[in-house]
Subunit: 389 residues, 2 copies
């Protein structure tokens, strides 16, 4: 087991009607806030009005900025930064999913910086200061509600880059599973894929002595898979299934599951190019990349890949033939993703394989990817090709 | 699933040589601290000298208070409170196990209170203010290193009472598994029993929809049992086995595993009387009480008890006869406890059963115990009797 630090200061407020607490919690930090959202479902569902009512009751003033899109854009972040500076806002409240939260985190850093906030995403600067960020989560997926991560797309590229710093971890996050009843199935499925990927990135490690966290990872993945099946078998309004998925999404990315180990994270970076080049949803990109990544790595610590197949996908006979068991696990994972409506190939998602060489080249621009096995441009290209059809 | 809040601000610094960071971390909070310990193993092992060297390097001054005993005493807490007030100390650094940490937490509340600190343990006052507490942990067991709990014994009684308040949660805790190599086997075993009990208290709930946390609880218990077996099969200096146990002890009691559910906690209160009347170690009291508690409750949600037997103790055939499976689980749990040198009956520990009526009466002095099934005086007495031999 590796030495580690574990620290997560986000206060999670979880359950029915918890959005009514947002005003009181916000007032502990600020009196003037940026209220950041997409302008879509949170408005239509009435959630935004309930949030405003709660803010008003707590005498918190707000300035609104909507229009965040999936794969959140740098141009919108620039708008938010300008607004915070002009209006002297002290706090960013994100109401939405991972895109809104990631955009809020970027604004929070930018608001206290004189240059272009892209400097932090382009690794020219390290973020150490940010306005406090909090969230009312509507899409369980990215885990951004208690993570130190923000991923932003610069439309000049397309470049999709991340910042991972303690200063942007939300101070509180409100998670009401009822808010997810009305999610389109495709978004629910993308969220499930994203949180499974967050666990798999941590699970696939070369560190041999991480038995406790292996158990926690496997248990969380089984719970996600079973409850996703419930939701996709007519359980759209099954509170408990929605609650299991929502809490799992936060735990998947709050770093407990990576304690003592070095995760991989290659697949995330390989996927980022799919999102950047084709604007495919992150979760849908991951359901394409992950099966190919495992298949490409089948000779790389095969017993761990077989254990994954056995413990998470119920593959029997892992002890007779590790490689066969691991491949059966990939097969079942693909079946699961397709059963909830996700693509598992370029063909499924109608993506053009002609872009593969350019994507592979761009993916490794900061060097080889991943830790389970270091992947260079040729490896990344081979993984894309395994996913073609 | 129940609504919940989850918040744990303790920074965990885990791994080899991490005690060298204690000065730097402490200096972020205070320049004059109470250095609290037992005066025993931490002195002999040289740990205390290393802690002092680190404090000195960071220009932190300390006043020392040693002599904490297992089942920490109110009289020692009073000494610490007086010392903090006289010396104007700003911070309590506990070097030791749960007893030292619980004593430190009591001192931290008492130092900012004009009356007798026992008022908080006797439920006359609610603790809201405390000096910051931090720990260098030497015994993985109580989980006190990141919990809000402190249990103190008032020698006037004997009364063993607890305070559970956010203000006494440690600001940081340093966990170096190497420090546990030299623990006597009995103390290691008591720790294993204590952390398993912390998970079982959370696991035994009537809340039906807690699938994710059930999985996390079961996985953590399996990891504890397997790694305890490694340590007790000649692995006293197996770093990784010690590390799994040490990290599991913190996770068992950091409240992640109780999110969305109401735990039981009856067995802890039933055990407290064993510790108070016979000064038996808490972990050894729990290994006596828990098998009896399950046996007494065998008709109470038998499928959950059978699931526990199947998932944690590997009992097969749970689906044919729930009760038989649950009892086989109890049998295996007792075997496991005995295999690591713990008592599972009053007779094993040479405790006098004549005290049972008085203990049962005292156990329920604040009302019935537990949530899985409310236990009154007669129930508690019956559980003690099931544990006699």
């Amino acid at each position: 087991m590796q030495n580690f630090e574990y620290y997560n200061r986000t206060k999670i407020i979880f359950g029915k009607d918890t959005e009514d607490q947002v005003g009181g919690e916000t007032a502990k930090y600020a009196k003037r806030v940026l209220l950041h959202h997409s302008g879509g479902s949170a408005v239509k569902s009435g959630l935004l009005d309930r949030v405003k009512t709660s803010l008003k009751k707590a005498s918190v003033e707000w300035v609104e900025l909507d229009g965040v899109k999936p794969n959140p854009r740098l141009s919108k972040v620039h708008e938010g930064v300008a607004l915070c500076k002009k209006e002297k806002l002290e706090f960013i409240l994100a109401v939405g999913g991972g895109s809104v939260i990631d955009s809020a985190k970027a604004i929070a850093i930018g608001a206290l910086y004189d240059g272009d906030v892209w400097d932090f995403y382009d690794r020219k600067k390290t973020a150490a200061l940010a306005l406090p960020v909090a969230t009312v989560l509507t899409i369980p997926a990215a885990g951004s509600e208690s993570s130190i991560s923000s991923v932003i797309t610069n439309e000049q590229g397309p470049w999709k880059q991340s910042v991972d710093e303690e200063c942007i971890r939300p101070v509180f996050s409100i998670l009401n599973p009822e808010l997810t009843y009305s999610l389109p199935n495709y978004q629910t499925a993308c969220g499930v894929s994203d949180m499974l990927a967050h666990i798999m990135e941590r699970y696939f490690t070369k560190e041999p002595h991480v038995e406790l966290t292996d158990e926690l990872c496997e248990g969380a993945m089984r719970a996600i898979i079973r409850n996703a099946r419930k939701i996709f078998s007519g359980g759209e309004k099954d509170y408990n299934a929605r609650a299991e998925i929502m809490w799992a999404g936060a735990i998947a990315h709050n770093n407990l599951l990576s304690t003592g180990r070095i995760g991989d994270w290659g697949s995330h970076l390989i996927e980022h190019e799919l999102s950047a080049f084709f604007d495919v949803a992150h979760g849908a990109g991951l359901s394409i990349i992950f099966p190919a990544w495992i298949t490409y790595n089948i000779k790389e610590d095969t017993p761990r890949l077989a254990r994954f197949a056995a413990k998470v996908w119920g593959v029997d006979g892992a002890f007779y033939d590790y490689e066969q068991a691991a491949l059966e696990g990939v097969f079942r994972m693909k079946n699961f993703f397709r059963s909830i409506g996700l693509p598992v190939t370029f063909a499924d998602a109608k993506l053009d394989p002609a872009k593969i060489p350019e994507m592979a080249k761009h993916a490794v621009k900061f060097g080889p990817l991943g830790n389970y096995r270091k992947l260079n441009e040729k490896d990344v290209e081979a993984i894309y090709r395994l996913a073609v059809e």
